[in-house]
Point group: none
Chain length 162, copies 2
DNA sequence: CAAACTATTTATAAATA
DNA sequence: TTATTTATAAATAGTTT
């Protein structure tokens, strides 16, 4: 992509490297998200840029669960409430962001269809399609809301903070 | 990519899903590799396909090292990361805010266009249902906005935790 | 500087062998 | 079925605003 081909080696210019990281990070998370949804699998993705800012993504299951599976740890030893809280906050935010992205696209599609509506094409079929589209939109949003209210555990962990 | 656009939902046909997983897994690992080299960062990537076989990739450092680093941060480091993460959360949230705003604006446009439909060409009942659905959508979006603000509060509160 | 644009390269879904 | 080909969509480096 981009202008011309690029050698696979560390980008030496700091600013360029930072911009590239920002772009590619976004792309990588999107790809991970798509793979987890389309192919119905769990994914954990963690990045440690030297700046120290941690970026992570996990698809389908909570990061902590994926870790547990990976490291074969038992849950009772886990008093990493603060860590888990942070993971969930980040994860929720990123998932929400994805959902909003999707909604945006769907809405755009809906708008386009609305513009194309002409009296003669406004038959029941078109109407039904539009309705189901909006219904899906509402459903997706309700899903987001559900996730919000169901994150009680996040709340209770949170309550453990003095 | 591919022929035409595809919806972001689980691919139901097993064979197609498998093929897609195989292709996208390869692509994702390549992207992760490129990011780790070009931008000089550590990456851990783990996938759990239903088949049970674990796929993993780690750039720069071995997977275990990355996890160890993550799981065994010192308190100071963790606090530092927590702050970085919170900054990220807030940044994400602000982006989210803008996107939701835009979404709302688009919705408003869609609503206006709906109202412009010629009354005689519409089935009034269907129209009423559609409008109420759009209203619900707007209402739901307002909740998403609320969620966004509470995330921010949550984040700030957490920062005060030891 | 960051957001938007543009030219190219990549990734990949569907078709084909 | 698996590998290859092809047609499109996506990603992104460099450029501009």
């Amino acid at each position: 992509m981009g202008r011309g081909k690029q050698e696979m080696r560390r980008i030496e210019d700091k600013a360029t490297r930072q911009v590239s990281f920002s772009r590619r990070k976004k792309g990588l998370i999107k790809k991970a998200y798509e793979l987890s949804v389309l192919c119905d699998i769990d994914i954990a993705l963690i990045m440690f840029p030297p700046s120290g800012r941690l970026t992570q993504f996990s698809g389908k299951k909570r990061m902590e669960e994926v870790f547990t599976r990976y490291m074969h740890l038992t849950d009772e030893e886990r008093e990493e409430y603060a860590l888990e809280l942070l993971v969930q906050v980040i994860q929720n935010t990123e998932v929400l962001q994805r959902e909003v992205d999707r909604l945006q696209q769907q809405l755009q599609t809906a708008e386009e269809q609305l513009r194309e509506f002409e009296p003669q094409s406004l038959d029941f079929k078109a109407m039904g399609e539009l309705e189901s589209m909006v219904e899906r939109l509402v459903h997706t949003l309700e899903h987001v809301l559900q996730r919000k209210s169901s994150s009680k555990r996040l709340g209770s962990y949170y309550a453990l903070c003095p």
